[in-house]
């Protein structure tokens, strides 16, 4: 049934990405652990681990635990800081020919802005704003849970960078569309949908929460229906491209997100099970497209919105 090899390339933010299947932030480190099993330049894009202005140590205690069809993590955004990234990882990633998106985190608007400034002029493909971080100034709620705070951090970073600006939305909200619109109005060039759902798990034998942090972020196939619903809602409400994330394990899952209106997808948890996941899934997607007569990704995007 296969026809000629479909074209996986996607044009976004004025640049061509080799495939619409990208590595999700926090699930691909800075690429080093994967270089032995795949050619990093063949991955559509690599969203590196959430990176802050100073190094963050991360959370104590147990940090990951499996749940039915998913996993919880409470890493606490451990990362070596943007300067380490720029001096150590980025030169290496450039040597590998990788397309890199830097996921940035901060406790205050100023910290986000500071990281974005450091990335200016480096040649990274885009900045991805992770607005699920605790907002220190506004009392610990995440920036991503109200349209106002989400727009504020987006607008501030928008002013600080000429790089394409992607904002990654939190699913832990009642109205994701309101936040998407606010962030688009504040200058986002694209939206990643979704980050992890907040969850927890209890170790009944010890009679206490599994995670040192009590709560963690739920990822993996379990959350796919929620992610897909939010992608569908957001893609119908904004003009900027949407990047689908959440539970993608196969080319067929990726096709679901593209058909729902995503212009590209990211795979996170899948990379832990199959470190070649971004390539495997792209190959499976190409096979699906070939078998169903989709010659390029554009034909697939939004195909189920009919």
């Amino acid at each position: 049934m296969a026809s000629d090899q479909p074209d996986l390339a996607v044009q976004l933010f004025g640049r061509t990405f080799r495939t619409p299947v990208w590595a999700a932030s926090g699930c691909f480190g800075y690429g080093r652990e994967f270089a032995g099993v795949l050619d990093l330049s063949r991955v559509g894009a690599i969203c590196v681990k959430g990176t802050s202005i100073e190094p963050w140590t991360g959370n104590p205690g147990i940090r990951v635990v499996e749940t039915p069809g998913g996993m919880l993590n409470a890493i606490g955004l451990q990362n070596p800081g943007v300067d380490h990234f720029l001096t150590v990882d980025w030169p290496w990633l450039q040597e590998q020919g990788a397309t890199v998106i830097v996921n940035i985190v901060g406790r205050t608007v100023e910290e986000y802005v500071a990281v974005a400034r450091r990335l200016e002029g480096t040649g990274v493909a885009a900045v991805e704003l992770n607005i699920s971080c605790p907002n220190v100034k506004e009392g610990g709620m995440a920036f991503g849970t109200t349209p106002g705070s989400a727009a504020a951090v987006t607008a501030a970073v928008r002013k600080a960078t000429t790089l394409p600006l992607i904002v990654k939305l939190s699913p832990n909200v009642a109205d994701v569309v309101a936040i998407a619109r606010a962030v688009e109005d504040a200058g986002a060039d694209g939206l990643s949908v979704i980050n992890t759902l907040q969850g927890m798990s209890i170790d009944i034998r010890r009679g206490r929460p599994h995670l040192g942090n009590v709560f963690g972020g739920l990822s993996g196939p379990a959350i796919k229906p929620v992610a897909l619903r939010m992608v569908w809602q957001v893609a119908g409400a904004v003009k900027v491209p949407v990047i689908g994330v959440g539970g993608i394990m196969s080319g067929e899952d990726a096709a679901e997100f593209l058909m729902a209106g995503a212009s590209a997808v990211q795979v996170g948890t899948a990379c832990f099970i199959d470190p070649r996941a971004p390539l495997t899934i792209a190959e499976e997607l190409a096979r699906f497209m070939g078998e169903h007569g989709f010659r390029n990704v554009r034909a697939l995007v939004g195909a189920a919105r009919g």
């Binding site: 926090g26 699930c27 691909f28 480190g29 080093r32 652990e33 994967f34 681990k49 140590t57 991360g58 104590p60 205690g61 147990i62 940090r63 990951v64 635990v65 499996e66 039915p68 069809g69 998913g70 996993m71 993590n73 890493i75 451990q78 993996g220 196939p221 394990m249 196969s250 080319g251 067929e252 899952d253 948890t269 899948a270 990379c271 832990f272 099970i273 199959d274 470190p275 499976e284």
Partner: protein
């Protein structure tokens, strides 16, 4: 997979994995997905979702084979235990840091294995024996039933001291008791020197974290170098998720899967798992 045997609780899995067998060193582990490849044609299986880490118990590069010994404790190991001999499994490995080369250390090497910490000591014991390193093993478990891997340790030819909580095999007691005696008085009857009290030069330990902490304390007090193999829940097993951290002495975290699972005891803060 070549062979799979078990009593429903303790299982022994022998796999044809030439690449891993060739490259692996004792103390390293593999990440196994419990669902056979035949059931994961395109989409991965999700029950369980993640791979499960198991230490290498036997490494036979000549035959291209490895053996794992594991205990059925939850969903993943239960699914794994049902996989018939002959099925193909999906493995990543060898992963992590091994014990140090036995040729590099000095003095009598004491291997301490507790419960499911015994299987990796089998590979370690064989390594020490091949390196003709003077060595002795102390193996402990709740009951005789949980001494799985002890036979393989003994097969290396080194003397083995066995203890169980209930006395159902070996002496009644816990591994730190004979270790303490050896650290104080040296081990009698270690390989090749019957009668002489051979002072302990190095300790390798694997087992529950409270046991590791106790072993570390004894070794620190005695001024003897100690290596511990720790366990952590793992997201990936190869350094990408930062999920398996153990607190580093002096601050920050180390990754069990990449910086460990074997650590010089003084580098890590034990007792957290």
């Amino acid at each position: 997979m070549l062979a799979h045997e078990g009593d429903g609780e303790i299982c022994r899995l022998t796999l044809h994995a030439p690449e891993i067998a060739r490259r692996a060193a004792p103390g390293q582990f593999v990440q196994v997905h419990p669902v056979p490849v035949a059931l994961r044609p395109s989409a991965p299986a999700i029950d369980p979702l993640l791979r499960r880490p198991f230490s290498l118990c036997e490494i036979r590069p000549e035959e291209g084979e490895i053996t794992l010994i594991y205990r059925v404790v939850g969903r993943g190991t239960r699914v794994l235990s049902s996989v018939p001999a002959g099925a193909e499994l999906d493995l990543l490995g060898p992963l992590g840091r091994s014990f140090p080369d036995p040729r590099a250390g000095r003095g009598l090497l004491v291997l301490v294995g507790g419960g499911l910490g015994i299987p990796p000591m089998a590979a370690a014991a064989r390594w020490a024996a091949q390196a003709r390193r003077d060595a002795v093993a102390i193996l402990g478990a709740r009951t005789a039933r949980y001494l799985a891997g002890a036979r393989e340790v003994a097969a290396s030819g080194m003397p083995v001291v066995t203890v169980t909580d209930d006395g159902s095999a070996g002496q009644q007691g816990i591994v730190t008791e004979p270790l303490d005696r050896m650290l104080r008085h040296g081990a009698a009857a270690a390989a090749g020197r019957p009668g002489a009290a051979n002072p302990v030069g190095e300790v390798w330990a694997c087992g529950p974290e409270p046991m590791l902490a106790a072993v570390k304390e004894l070794c620190t007090a005695a001024g003897v170098p100690c290596f511990v193999s720790v366990e952590r829940f793992m997201g990936c097993g190869f350094g990408a998720c930062l999920g398996c951290t153990v607190p580093r002495a002096g601050g920050g975290y180390l990754k069990t899967c990449q910086d460990g699972p074997v650590f010089p005891a003084e580098e890590v803060v034990l007792g957290g798992f």
